[in-house]
């Protein structure tokens, strides 16, 4: 897929909570085709403490309105500065980058997202829906304000929720949600979130012999396979998460699970 370097214009910046916001970006040209799981490398301007671009997933694309959405969690200076972007300001993106989720050969799947790990999941859910693949969505977080976009997800499938403190959905870890008892009824588990969470999901999936894909968030410099900084250990040696990922099947990864 052809990659672009473009200035996009902020058309919305919606705060979901203290920590999360959704940027809407548009362009006078038609946005290029983007696939679920792909991401953009965003340039953060006006912050002396941010030198490199920041990788952020494609959260959703509304081709009718020509708007690209990104869901971002504020964790440091880069994401903090992005959170202050105002409508009509521009932001420079290198995109779309990376591979996509495997949606072949399945009819009934489950998507699990923890915290900002739900970012790539909405666009995936939309694609599955278009392909008439039945999707079940599992969202998790520490507390209810970490459960994002549940309403949006409901458009594409049944939604199950876990919070550590029980303030929304079931109480407990996302990996213990009751739907996980039925994991073997699904043909594939897609998941994204903190590494420890993904490893637990991967271990369960492996044990129950359910195909499992994870989206990794290794730190990146270039995002285009040039620097070799973002590698993950795979059965075929070190692979760049930015070009051969971010989505990996857990069978490829050398995880101790």
């Amino acid at each position: 897929m052809k990659k672009y370097i473009n200035d996009l214009t902020v058309c919305s910046n919606r705060r979901l909570s203290d920590d999360y916001f959704i940027l809407g970006l548009t362009s006078s040209n038609a946005l290029p085709e983007m696939l679920p799981g792909q991401f953009a490398e965003i340039k953060v301007d006006n912050n002396p403490n941010v030198f490199l671009r920041r990788p952020i997933s494609i959260h959703d694309v509304d081709y009718a309105k020509n708007v690209l959405y990104m869901l971002v969690k504020i964790v440091g200076q880069g994401t903090q500065t992005l959170s202050t972007l105002k409508v009509n300001e521009t932001v420079n993106l290198v995109y779309p980058l990376g591979n996509t989720f495997n949606m072949d050969g399945v009819t009934n799947v489950i998507l699990a997202g923890g915290g900002c790990g739900i970012a790539p999941m909405l666009y995936l859910a939309r694609h599955l829906h278009q392909k008439h693949i039945k999707a079940t969505i599992l969202l998790g977080g520490r507390t209810m304000i970490d459960i994002l976009e549940a309403k949006e997800f409901k458009k594409y499938g049944d939604v199950f929720i876990s919070t550590d403190d029980g303030s929304m959905g079931e109480k407990g870890f996302i990996t213990n949600n009751s739907i996980m008892k039925k994991l073997s009824s699904f043909q594939r588990l897609y998941c994204c979130g903190p590494l420890p969470m993904m490893k637990v999901f991967a271990a369960i999936a492996k044990q129950q012999q359910v195909d499992c894909e994870v989206s990794l968030e290794n730190t990146m410099a270039c995002g285009i396979g040039a620097c070799l900084c973002c590698v993950a250990e795979t059965d075929k040696g070190n692979k760049c998460v930015c070009t051969e990922g971010p989505v990996f099947n857990i069978n490829q990864l050398k995880w101790q699970i």
Binding site: I224, A226, L228, C230
Partner: protein, 303 residues
């Protein structure tokens, strides 16, 4: 349109803008963003005799106006380069230069012998300055004796243009430059990365798996510029300058300090189209300053 041509040894470059090893892949990674053929040359990823997995992740840390890397020469080895990569890039209408790395003297020699035969590789850059490998690498480039030894051996084995890439982690880079000049290097390029370190104060751990790594980006520019200035006064062979070049003004500064050509490194990560832009802006700078040939800028610092 100024005349942008420069010469390194017998080799003429259409312009002085090359891309630095390890920051531009092999070229194809950047084809969506610029016209590779517009560049003076590209220097491909450090290539070793055997395939190398490189260091463990994490390999990167952001620092003030720069970054540390600890990639550790991950590459598929020279044979894979020749068989799998070279055929896909040899059509480029620009000079493709292979950055040759190694941990043993014999390895360097074996690699360059293999590269001798590649028609579209007119030069190599001998990397005796990689700070990210346990054996060899920078060790070769931090003493005159070992720099002499490896350059001599490679010079005897390699028949085309030989560029030796120097380490900034030394007391006197001019002395090392003179030593490799004496052994017949056609050019020296500098600087490779500066050895540095980053720590996460919250977790109290080093950020890189290797604890230390190589610093690059604008933060090292003043150091690189000083070294290019010192070396270009110490040697007669052409100097290729790099370290923190982000835009055409930086490029001009390196030429003025004495560089015959420059390399764009870390900047490729911030703007993958920057190297071609620098070519065009250099041209415009020359026109604005009524400079007919970019050569006139080389060492043109008014002191």
């Amino acid at each position: 349109m100024a005349d942008l041509k420069v010469k390194i040894g017998a080799l003429e470059f259409k312009n002085p803008v090359l891309t630095a090893s390890g920051t531009f892949g092999y070229g194809p990674e950047f084809e969506d963003f610029l016209n590779i053929d517009s560049l003076g040359g590209i220097i491909v990823k450090g290539t070793t005799l055997e395939a190398r997995q490189g260091n463990a992740y994490p390999r990167m840390a952001e620092t003030p106006a720069g970054m540390l890397n600890a990639v550790g020469l991950q590459n598929k080895g020279v044979d894979a380069f020749i068989n799998d990569i070279y055929p896909n890039i040899k059509h480029y209408n620009t000079h493709i230069i292979v950055n040759v790395s190694g941990s043993k003297l014999e390895d360097y020699v074996t690699v360059v012998e293999k590269l001798n035969d590649l028609e579209h590789i007119p030069a190599i850059e001998l990397n005796i300055s990689c700070p990210n490998v346990k054996q060899g690498g920078m060790a070769f480039g931090t003493s005159c004796a070992s720099a002499t030894e490896v350059t001599k051996a490679v010079r005897a084995a390699y028949h085309k243009t030989l560029i030796v890439k120097l380490s900034p982690n030394v007391t006197s880079i001019s002395e090392i430059a003179k030593a490799v000049e004496d052994e017949g290097a056609d050019s020296v390029s500098l600087i490779n990365t500066v050895l540095g370190m980053a720590i996460d104060a919250e977790s109290r751990r080093p950020i890189l798996s290797t604890i230390t790594g190589g610093l690059s980006g604008p933060c090292v520019k003043p150091i690189a510029l000083r070294m290019v200035w010192q070396v270009s006064q110490a040697v007669k062979i052409p100097v290729i300058g790099l370290g923190g070049i982000m835009n055409f003004t930086d490029a001009v500064e390196f030429l003025l300090a004495g560089a015959t050509a420059i390399q764009v490194g870390t900047a490729n990560f911030i703007d993958p189209a920057i190297s071609e832009k620098i070519v065009h802006q250099l041209d415009a700078y020359c026109d604005n300053h009524r400079i007919r040939a970019v050569k006139e800028l080389i060492g043109g610092l008014i002191v």
